[in-house]
């Protein structure tokens, strides 16, 4: 038997230069060389330009004295701290506003999204108006509006807008009563931890029991009662070791209390409202994407409206909602950099603004800031992908 190769087949008529493999190799090598030479030229120029302008490069400036103040910091910082410390302050401020914004925007977005599908005409229309209004106005304009038109013209601290002598609103921000803990307050914390762990354990137990016997338990209510009740009991049992500290007026300002700066308040309000409008659309699309037969079948099984939403519709809608929701969370994180326009000291404002101007190390500052955002994006995306895999439909 002769193999095919042994037969005297006519030679292929295709010329060597029409061979797709060769063409692809030539094309790729050319592209790689062009990209590399552009990079090489850029780096070469940058080195030359930096030397000519006598700008030092490298990351050694992280350890040197910053010499500027930052109005808001979660960790200790003053103008004798280092640039590295300033970097951490900016990073933490970005994280602070993003985490709070994601939390609030999710709640508001889900509420509005469900409201848009409400059988109540008025509620549905208000939700639609909100979404169409907010989505079509640039975020920067909204931030400027909240900061420059709403929060800055507020009265001085002396004439604060006063809600029940507890919450004050003035042009230096929003002041809440702070909670002061005494030593025995650890009991409350302990009770809270016990309540949370207990609720989770009870939830698992109830789930198993339901799977085995069909008996359902009011897990949510029991968990709520435990999480609110146990710390309350501990609070009274330990002799009320925690108390609210109200802000008090001094001559020019308010003392005490927990205050949010107008910059932070503006960026938080702006980001929350803006992202919530997009999340609402995603939620609406997700719920509408679950086929009608599902809700009809769940009603036929005798589930109430709430149960059919909670047990049948939402779990299936989540599969549609999660991927675009992830990108909205990422957008919120990236949009938090707009705070630079209203002076909230987050990463871009501190590192691509003040530090860059002081040290003149453009390449280092820009690279680090971008890498931080890239890392955040990867972290959020991988976390949401993990969740997505968990809730994804298991197919054969």
């Amino acid at each position: 038997m002769t193999s095919i190769a042994d037969r005297n087949l006519p030679k292929s008529k295709t010329a060597w230069y029409n061979d797709p493999k060769l063409r692809s190799i030539v094309f790729q090598v050319t592209l790689a060389v062009i990209v590399l030479s552009v990079l090489f030229m850029a780096v070469d120029n940058a080195i030359y330009n930096l030397q000519k302008a006598k700008i030092a490069s490298g990351f050694d400036f992280f350890g040197s004295l910053s010499g500027f103040d930052i109005s808001e910091h979660l960790i200790d910082y003053n103008n004798t701290s280092t640039y590295g410390r300033a970097f951490m302050v900016g990073l933490l401020n970005t994280v602070k506003v993003s985490v709070l914004g994601i939390f609030l925007a999710t709640i508001l977005g889900f509420t509005v999204g469900i409201a848009r599908l409400s059988p109540n005409w008025l509620i549905a229309k208000i939700a639609t108006c909100y979404v169409e209004l907010i989505r079509n106005i640039p975020l920067l304009l909204q931030l400027l509006f909240w900061y420059r038109a709403v929060l800055k013209p507020l009265p001085d601290p002396r004439d604060s807008i006063n809600v029940a002598d507890a919450i004050f609103l003035n042009n230096r921000g929003l002041v809440f009563p702070a909670i002061a803990f005494e030593e025995k307050a650890t009991a409350i914390l302990l009770a809270l931890v016990v309540a949370v762990v207990g609720s989770i354990a009870y939830g698992i137990f109830a789930h198993r029991r339901q799977a085995a016997t069909g008996q359902r338990a009011h897990t949510v209510w029991i968990a709520l009662a435990a999480i609110i009740g146990l710390p309350l009991i501990a609070f009274f049992a330990a002799g009320m070791p925690a108390s609210l500290v109200y802000a008090t007026k001094t001559k020019f300002n308010l003392a005490g209390g927990l205050s949010l700066s107008p910059e932070f308040t503006a960026i938080l309000i702006g980001l929350t409202l803006y992202t919530a409008a997009f999340i609402a659309e995603i939620v609406r699309g997700g719920i509408r994407g679950v086929s009608r037969g599902q809700s009809e079948a769940s009603r036929a099984l005798g589930l109430s409206t709430g149960d059919s939403l909670r047990l049948v519709i939402i779990p299936q809608a989540m599969r549609i909602i999660i991927p675009p929701l992830t990108s909205q969370y990422l957008n919120l994180l990236k949009n938090s950099s707009l705070a630079v326009a209203i002076g909230y000291p987050e990463l871009v404002q501190i590192f691509m603004g003040t530090v860059l101007n002081q040290t003149n190390r453009a390449i280092e500052c820009v690279t680090i800031t971008m890498l931080v955002y890239l890392a955040f994006s990867l972290i959020i995306a991988s976390g949401m992908n993990w969740y997505n895999r968990r809730v994804a439909l298991v197919e054969r």
């Binding site: 094309f27 030229m41 940058a46 109540n120 005409w121 008025l122 304009l141 509006f145």
Partner: protein
């Protein structure tokens, strides 16, 4: 016993007319019962909603219309006085400053040029978007080629021939520099390999042979250019340069065509494009007596529209290329596309703009310093292409494999298959996505203010702190006006995308 009295019998011939529905289910009352008070929760929600509206709406209406000031001059018109206890929006402020909001500091006598540009843009947009007007191919040529050139000529004015010649000459020089870098790169590679294999002495000999080749090419071209420039002046030498370059490109194309690398049709297209480009440059270089206006005078809506249009014009083709690259079989192409797309999508737009603003001048050779608007445009264009690439990729992925196979079976090569079979269908599928990314691009143009460009929002923001109009209501008025303008642009775009979605929805989607 009585017989049935048939004379008295009554037989109906037609059905009884239905009773009217219960009054509670029809008309306004029925509608209210169904939609507002159909359950107890609904009643509570309706009450809450009415409360909310009663709280918000009157104050908004009072501010915008009832208490608003419509006529007057200066800040006194909008201040609270004894006979006017409440002051709403200060519309005279917007009216007086409308010119600044639209043109920025563009010279007043030259504003007609901006107006013509706006009209040209508007014609292009309507032509591209209206489904009834045909010849979309020409519309693309008009919007993506003719309008940019015309707008560039009109807006920058007399400075143009030099600017454009400089641009083209710069591009040609960049190409030569690239070739030089390419040659020296290969030179270096060869030298390294040779020195590894044969030792240093031999490699130096090779290098001394290799270096002159790459250097003399660059040097002799530079020398020739200097000589022509000295002999014929700057403009004529440019044309000689252009002609020689075009002929060289055509010659290479001819050689390729002779050997079967390309067909003669491609060659004709190449010649037409080169000639067209030449005519375009020549038309631009005609001195129409326009006063040059530098970009630092541009501002307001003009800058917003320029940034958005440049973003749109660049990001669509670049996005298509990147999307094709990402789906390519070639690992190098695929990797480069993925790195670019994911990098840009992972960072905020501000960082890209700041990078373009601070780092671009560092990366260019000494003396080349693009003005700040151009730097900004580069940043915006790169940023939006990455997002556009993902939209286009969605369309490419939605195409059934049979379309590719059918095109290949017809004997089309890759560019022809893409241009005539795949892309028209794929792009049509994602028109809503494309329009949505245009909406985000339009909203994102506001960010250019952060790197110091005077866009529409920034002109309004700057005007609100004008001492002549300093009243408590000025900033509210300004932001309300800005919001209205942006909202109208974005909302109409989103309505358009929805209408396209409805038109393209054939109803038998699987």
């Amino acid at each position: 016993m009585s017989a049935v009295d048939f004379d008295q019998a009554f037989v109906r011939h037609d059905a009884i007319a239905p009773l009217p529905p219960p009054p509670a289910t029809v008309g306004v009352i029925g509608w209210i019962r169904r939609n507002l008070v159909n359950s107890w929760t609904s009643v509570i929600l309706t009450a809450l909603a009415i409360g909310l509206l009663a709280w918000v709406l009157p104050s908004i209406l009072r501010f915008l219309f009832i208490d608003a000031v419509w006529t007057g001059e200066g800040r006194d018109a909008c201040l609270v006085t004894a006979d006017r206890p409440a002051v709403g929006a200060c519309w005279p402020f917007v009216l007086r400053r409308l010119g600044f909001f639209t043109y920025g500091q563009y010279p007043i006598d030259e504003r007609w040029r901006v107006n013509i540009t706006f009209v040209l843009c508007a014609i292009g947009v309507v032509w591209l978007l209206a489904p009834r007007i045909g010849a979309k191919g020409w519309a693309m040529v008009y919007f993506f080629l003719a309008v940019p050139i015309a707008a560039f000529c009109l807006l920058t004015g007399n400075a143009l021939p030099y600017a454009l010649i400089g641009l083209v000459a710069g591009a040609i020089q960049t190409v030569f520099a690239l070739i030089g870098a390419f040659l020296s790169g290969i030179d270096w590679l060869v030298a390294t390999i040779v020195s590894e294999v044969f030792g240093t002495a031999f490699s130096e000999t090779v290098a001394s042979l290799g270096w002159p080749v790459s250097h003399y090419i660059g040097d002799s071209i530079g020398f020739l250019r200097d000589m022509t420039e000295a002999m014929f002046g700057r403009v004529l030498s440019f044309w000689i340069d252009y002609l020689v370059s075009a002929l060289a490109i055509l010659w290479v194309g001819k050689m390729a065509a002779d050997r079967g690398f390309a067909n003669s049709r491609t060659l004709v297209i190449l010649a037409v494009v080169l000639a067209g480009l030449g005519i375009g440059i020549w038309l631009c270089s005609l001195d129409a007596g326009l006063k040059p206006v530098t970009t630092n005078l541009w501002g307001g809506m003009l800058v917003t529209i320029v940034v958005a249009s440049v973003g749109i014009v660049v990001c669509l083709p670049l996005g298509v290329v990147l999307a094709l690259g990402r789906r390519s079989q070639m690992p190098v192409v695929k990797m480069l596309s993925i790195i670019f797309i994911e990098f840009v999508r992972g960072v905020p737009m501000i960082t890209v703009l700041i990078m373009a603003n601070t780092m671009l001048p560092l990366f260019l050779s000494e003396g080349v310093r693009p003005d700040s608007l151009l730097r900004c445009l580069i940043g915006v264009a790169l940023f939006s292409s990455a997002y556009m690439a993902e939209v286009v990729r969605g369309g490419l992925q939605a195409m059934p494999k049979g379309q590719y196979e059918g095109a290949m079976a017809l004997g089309l090569n890759f560019p022809l298959m893409m241009i005539f079979v795949v892309l028209p269908q794929a792009l049509k599928l994602v028109i809503p996505g494309i329009v949505n990314s245009f909406i985000s691009l339009f909203k994102d143009t506001t960010l250019v203010a952060i790197v110091g460009i005077l866009d529409f929002l920034e002109t309004i923001k700057a005007s609100t702190s004008d001492a002549n109009w300093a009243t408590p209501v000025t900033s509210y008025t300004g932001y309300a006006f800005a919001a209205l303008v942006y909202w109208m642009f974005c909302f109409s775009m989103s309505r358009y995308s929805q209408s396209v979605e409805r038109r393209l929805d054939t109803g038998h989607k699987r």
